[in-house]
């Protein structure tokens, strides 16, 4: 196939790499949580200025993500500065955004007089929380006059809260905000929704403002995860979520928030309700997908079931229930905010018009076929003779930029959208992501993105077949089968190492 109509008079571009490689982290950074670009308007320090300065720690982190197209490379480093809340035991709480893909993190005191390197002791990309501890250095003197914050209890709608920031000179800025509503929000990793307070308040820009602590009655209420400057709405990760995160870290092994492993849709449509034989006095959520091996599957939940109650709480047609503390809340908080792994949850369902009760024991679902949240995980790859194989992740597909859903290769997108069609016999998808033109890959330069079967791939490269050839069989064609000369590709591999590719594979 020739790219016949894409040429220009003076320049013919035949990119080897992804055409529009967008850095996920930099996209995230642009969504409004970084306030440093706004004009600073200092406010007078409050009477407890000292407390504020003693309980806040500046966090400077250097973030480096892996290149999706050249998986052996890291992309250019980016700096991000935030404020962390000091907790007892020399622990510093911040958002996962500050720690994900970080190559170096340091803590700095309010006066900029002391700096100490830090390490991540627990991180939850889904809930957007991270716990840092000093790594080495003079720990005692760094923390000597600092005062840890205690964790606060849940607030109510209408409560006033303080957002604490620091100026460059170390002076505190306190912003008064009022909690207006409570909702389930996804603040970092896509598709994970957690209890979030939405408060109204006019924030100013200050240094280290990427994420900042929110205080109520002198206790840490939550962490600011994003600020909408236009509507002056502050999103605050709720104390329940922070409590659950902190207590999960207590034994040194972080597990994470549990999940049922289902996808659902509303039952608002009256015709759909009639067909499901739902009476007007029940709400209900229609189950559309159940993840393989999930808590829901083990509990016996089936596609097409209608969940009408979770732990005796009635679930409405759009999925909301009445929460004693907050009023109408989305059902997922009943699982992901209120319970932990191993807890039992009672699901009342309607199946073919008949009511049943199922008990699910909550756990963490297995890694999906196409991994979604691959922060801090370098992409897995294998180079042979110039063929670059990678393991498919959502990160790879999203690296195609804003329009990744139309620009990324169709066959790979289809796997991401409907993994259940590809799961049989595979745990992972391995595909040919690019071809470095080498003597071994002559004629293969334009091949892309065919799904290889992982076992055939490993087998092919362990030992060459007859006539000294590697055989690579793809799950899709054409062509379905290609060959590599073992000797030439081994030679090419050593050459590639000489030319700066640090390693031929990462597993």
């Amino acid at each position: 196939m020739k790219l016949k109509y894409s040429f220009f008079p003076f320049f013919i571009a035949l990119p080897l790499t992804l055409s529009s490689c967008c850095d996920k982290q930099s996209c995230q950074a642009g969504k409004g949580s970084d306030l440093t670009s706004q004009k600073a308007t200092p406010v007078a320090a409050s009477s407890d200025a000292l407390t504020i300065r003693q309980s806040l720690v500046r966090i400077n982190s250097t973030i480096q993500v892996w290149s999706a197209s050249q998986p052996w490379d890291k992309s250019a480093p980016k700096k991000r500065r935030a404020l962390g809340a000091l907790l007892s035991g020399n622990r510093v709480l911040t958002t996962a955004e500050m720690a994900a893909d970080a190559t170096y993190i340091e803590l700095e005191n309010a006066d900029n007089t002391r700096i100490i390197p830090a390490k991540v002791t627990a991180i939850d990309y889904e809930a957007n929380l991270a716990l840092l501890e000093p790594d080495n250095g003079d720990i005692d003197s760094f923390f000597e006059d600092l005062v840890p914050l205690s964790l606060g209890s849940p607030a109510k709608i209408g409560d006033r809260v303080d957002v604490w920031q620091l100026e460059d000179n170390g002076m505190p800025i306190v912003t008064d905000a009022v909690i207006q509503s409570v909702d389930i929000v996804s603040s970092f990793a896509n598709g994970h929704f957690f209890l979030t307070y939405e408060a109204k308040g006019s924030m100013q820009s200050a240094s280290n403002s990427f994420t900042v602590p929110v205080i109520r009655n002198g206790e840490l209420l939550g962490l600011l995860s994003s600020y909408d400057a236009k509507d002056q709405i502050i999103d605050i990760i709720a104390p329940e979520i922070i409590h659950a995160f902190i207590s999960d870290t207590a034994d040194g092994e972080y597990i994470g928030f549990p999940s049922l492993g289902i996808a659902i849709t509303s039952t608002v449509d009256p015709n759909f309700r009639d067909w499901l034989k739902l009476s007007d006095d029940v709400g209900g959520l229609y189950v559309t997908k159940i993840r393989k091996g999930s808590a829901a599957q083990k509990a016996g939940l089936e596609k097409g079931d209608v969940i009408i109650e979770i732990n005796t709480k009635a679930i409405g047609r759009r999925g909301y229930y009445s929460d004693e503390q907050y009023g109408r809340l989305y059902w997922s908080h009943l699982i992901r905010g209120s319970l932990k792994q191993g807890d039992k949850v009672e699901l009342t369902i309607l199946r073919a018009g008949e009511q049943k009760t199922l008990t699910a024991t909550l756990d963490r679902p297995e890694e999906p076929l196409v991994a979604r949240d691959t922060y801090d995980q370098p992409p897995l790859y294998l180079i042979k003779g110039g063929l670059i194989f990678q393991e498919l992740t959502a990160y790879y597909l999203k690296a195609f930029g804003k329009d990744w859903q139309s620009k990324a290769p169709l066959n790979l997108l289809d796997i991401m959208m409907t993994p259940e069609d590809y799961e049989e016999g595979r745990n992972k998808i391995v595909f040919l992501s690019a071809v470095i033109p080498t003597p071994a890959t002559t004629g293969y330069e334009r091949l892309r993105n065919f799904i290889a079967d992982i076992s055939s791939l490993i087998k092919a490269f362990e030992q060459p077949g007859p006539e000294g050839l590697h055989t690579i069989e793809f799950a899709e064609g054409p062509p379905r089968t290609i060959y590599l000369d073992a000797k030439i590709s081994d030679f090419v591999d050593t050459e590639l190492l000489k030319r700066g590719i640090p390693a031929l594979s990462r597993q």
Partner: protein
Amino acid sequence: MFKSLPRFLPIQLASLFFLFIHSANAEPSAGRALAPLETGPNAALPEKTYSSIVRIEVATQVPNYNEPWKAGRFSGGIGTGFLIGPNLFLTNAHVVSNARRLLITMHGAARKHPAKIVFIAHDCDLALLEVDDFTPFMGLHHFQIGGVPKLESQVRVIGYPVGGNRISVTRGVVSRIDFNTYSHSRSDQHLVVQIDAAINPGNSGGPVLQDGKVVGVAFQGLRSADNTGYMIPTPVVRRFLTDIEDGRYDKYVDLGISDFPMFNPAMQKKFGLTPTSPGVLVAAVTPDGPCDGVLQKDDILTAINNNAVDAAGNILIDGEKVNMNEIVERKFSGDQVKLSIIRDGKSMDVVCTLKPFPPSQMYAVQYDVKPRYTTFAGLVLQPLDRNLYSAHNLTNTRVRRLFTHYLDEAIFKERKDIVILTRVLSDPVNTHLSGHVGTAIESINGESVSSLEHAHQLLHPEKLPDFFVIKCEGIERPLVIPGDKAEAASQRTQSSYGITTPANLSH
């Protein structure tokens, strides 16, 4: 030919433009002096000969694939045609596609002669017209069809391009002879000749002359490059004229295979070839295509009708390297071609009987046909084809996949049409269904949908079901329309959305 289609799809042909003036943008640009005509073998035509090159004025009605019940858009334009026999005017198919009225004007005359299409071939962008009354054209010169001009030889383009009303003559040299896409159908590739004569909108259908004979029909240009005009060379014109001799145009035939170049040394070794061996790899054979059962995957195709095929799939004809399909291009339905192959190391000859392959029309732009559709309770169902794909923003991965793999995965065997829910016209019965728009209909009341007619029958059964349950591909939650409310909803949506014809099941 449809062989490389699935891989060709992502490439936009937007930069190709027709040399046909649409009345909407027929603003004359700055006047341009006609190039002086030289004397000698390529001398100016006798003045009278110009009379055989006619201006074609077209009024069109372009079907609306967005709202298929509507009359479509009325527009029109100007093109060129020329006399090649008694009452036989040759022009481009795209000049007269979707025409409602055709008027032919002789050079230097005012009278407009009503004309009609006798034969039209959308796959090679050619059409033959006749005027109702040929008397005024009696005695005019009939152009002879010549051969393929040599590279660098001079040619002259005559027609009625933008910039004035009278005939225009430009000249240039033959820059390239190639196998390339015909943008009229967007799915066909045939021989094209590139020339550097200034050819512009309005030149479409005009003759390209050398030594007084027609060596091509000007038909398209390349927007992103300068002085790049394309003409349909005479082998394609001759084939068209031969095809219609039996009173019917039968379309091009094709082998229906995907080939893969034999450049890779390991590949050559595997198949026992040397770097100089002829032969290209048969990477896939289209199911039910002309070569199904004749060729197999992994055959090496070494010659077609005794023309040696090189490793890239090219053959030598008349001293020019051209794609091996050029042999098949000049054949007709029912003709046989001899294919010399190496299968499992053994040389052998097989014979393929060429035949049309209707499923490949999925990828060809359709003209002169009314869009097919059916409506039901506000749902609009249309069969997937190139026109629909261009008209609607079909981004659903499953739909894109069905479109791309319609031939090679033999989807056409089960599904004559891929029926798409293109629209939901709001009505109380369907207000909650917007998420299903743009997906393919999988089944209706449990029965798999194989065609638009089939869907229509299933939606209009003799005995009304309690519910119409419509399952869309990739969406678990079905569409549910109560049987007893469907007819009233159909009536309501038809009257409120102005749908005078609720269904059109045939072209």
